[in-house]
């Protein structure tokens, strides 16, 4: 195990009542010249406070250096771009419910057309009857006769309802799920 890991493994949390004083002195750049001798002597002998002073001074120096190097965009540009983006997002958000409503209406129309087609087309009904009789032949024992009768009589209607549910859920997913 490397020394760092070993040291950290055995580390026990300790507190020092002078830590806030040492920290304040370090952050205000008063340490070591502009603090009283008592605090200076304490920091020299206290592992916690000497760490606080060393780390706070190092971080403060790095902070000054980094702030000097930072090239941040102009505040006016940031404000303007934020405005533009907020408006764009607001426009998108406002458009979203309309899209959802349009998709749902389309799905309902398709479902309705499907139901009408199923109810009026003799060819479709005969095909459905053939499917139902084939299924009844295969699963005669598995499906109760009453249920089979309902399926044969109202198969088109049941299919249309299922299609509407499927289309509505797909439309809602497409409208809202994209975000």
């Amino acid at each position: 195990m490397n020394p760092l890991k070993r040291e950290l493994k055995d580390l026990e949390f300790k507190d020092c009542e002078f830590e806030p004083d040492a920290l304040a002195a370090a952050l205000q750049s008063r340490f070591p010249e502009w603090v009283d001798a008592g605090l200076r002597a304490h920091v020299a002998g206290c592992a916690i406070c000497s760490d606080v002073v060393a780390i706070a001074s190092a971080v403060d120096e790095a902070r000054e250096e980094m702030r000097g190097r930072a090239t941040v965009p102009d505040s006016g540009r940031v404000w303007w771009l934020a405005q533009v983006r907020a408006r764009r997002e607001a426009a998108e958000a406002a458009g979203r419910p309309i899209t959802a409503a349009q998709l749902i209406a389309f799905a309902c129309a398709v479902g309705l057309l499907g139901a009408c087609f199923g109810a009026t087309s003799t060819r479709f009904q005969s095909a459905l009857g053939w499917i139902a009789s084939s299924a009844a032949g295969v699963h005669a024992k598995a499906v109760p006769p009453a249920a089979m009768g309902v399926l044969v009589q109202h198969g088109a209607f049941i299919l249309a309802i299922a299609a509407v549910f499927f289309l509505i859920s797909t439309a809602v997913y497409l409208a809202l799920g994209r975000d």
Binding site: E7, A56, E65, R67, A70, P73, S75, W79, R87, R88
Partner: protein, 192 residues
């Protein structure tokens, strides 16, 4: 992000003029607040992520989300805390998405611009410090930076990092000791 926005997007959205952006803060207040805090937030993001380019992107996103939050703040300190909380969350999200690229290193030009009474010593210290910081966990970096660069209280740090205030002191103690060891300071046992 702002960088993804094209001029056609801008002109399209300008056509929507009249819709309110919905910011609680007015432009003058925002600009003054930005001038006071942007460099500090950038330095924080650069330290926590270890990536200057990412810090540039996250800085703009931070201020945008701050404006969009539409929260009212009691005072400047409260406002700054919100800003740092947003920055912390964005840095964390970026890390989760593995957006963090190779850690940045100080170039010789950067070092010369550091502006110290003894540039060479300062440069060496900063390079050591940068390398040591990169060996810490992002949360430890954030904690130390908020405590010692921003002078945030334990409660404020806990708030920004989503920690319990009671658990912050031991965590800060550990992070500080770890950094001290990485900077070559003597182990605790040898000091007393």
């Amino acid at each position: 992000m702002f960088r993804d926005m094209t001029f056609s997007d801008v002109s399209r959205t300008e056509a929507l003029d009249g819709t309110c952006a919905g910011f609680v803060m007015d432009e003058d207040t925002f600009r003054a607040f930005y001038e006071r805090t942007a460099r500090g937030v950038w330095a924080y993001l650069a330290r926590v992520t270890g990536d200057r380019q990412l810090a540039d992107d996250l800085l703009q996103e931070t201020f945008y989300r701050f404006l969009r939050a539409a929260a009212t703040h009691d005072n400047e300190s409260h406002r700054r805390n919100s800003l740092y909380r947003i920055a912390t969350n964005l840095a964390r999200d970026a890390r989760r998405r593995s957006l963090i690229r190779a850690p940045f290193s100080l170039s010789s030009n950067d070092i010369e611009r550091a502006g110290s009474s003894d540039p060479r010593d300062s440069a060496e210290r900063n390079t050591d410090f940068t390398h040591a910081m990169l060996h810490l966990k992002p949360r430890e970096r954030a904690m130390l930076w908020l405590a010692y660069a921003e002078g945030a209280s334990h409660r404020e740090i806990a708030d920004a990092l989503g920690l319990r205030p009671g658990s912050l002191k031991p965590l800060l103690f550990r992070a500080r000791r770890k950094l001290a060891l990485l900077l070559g300071r003597a182990p605790e046992k040898e000091k007393r």
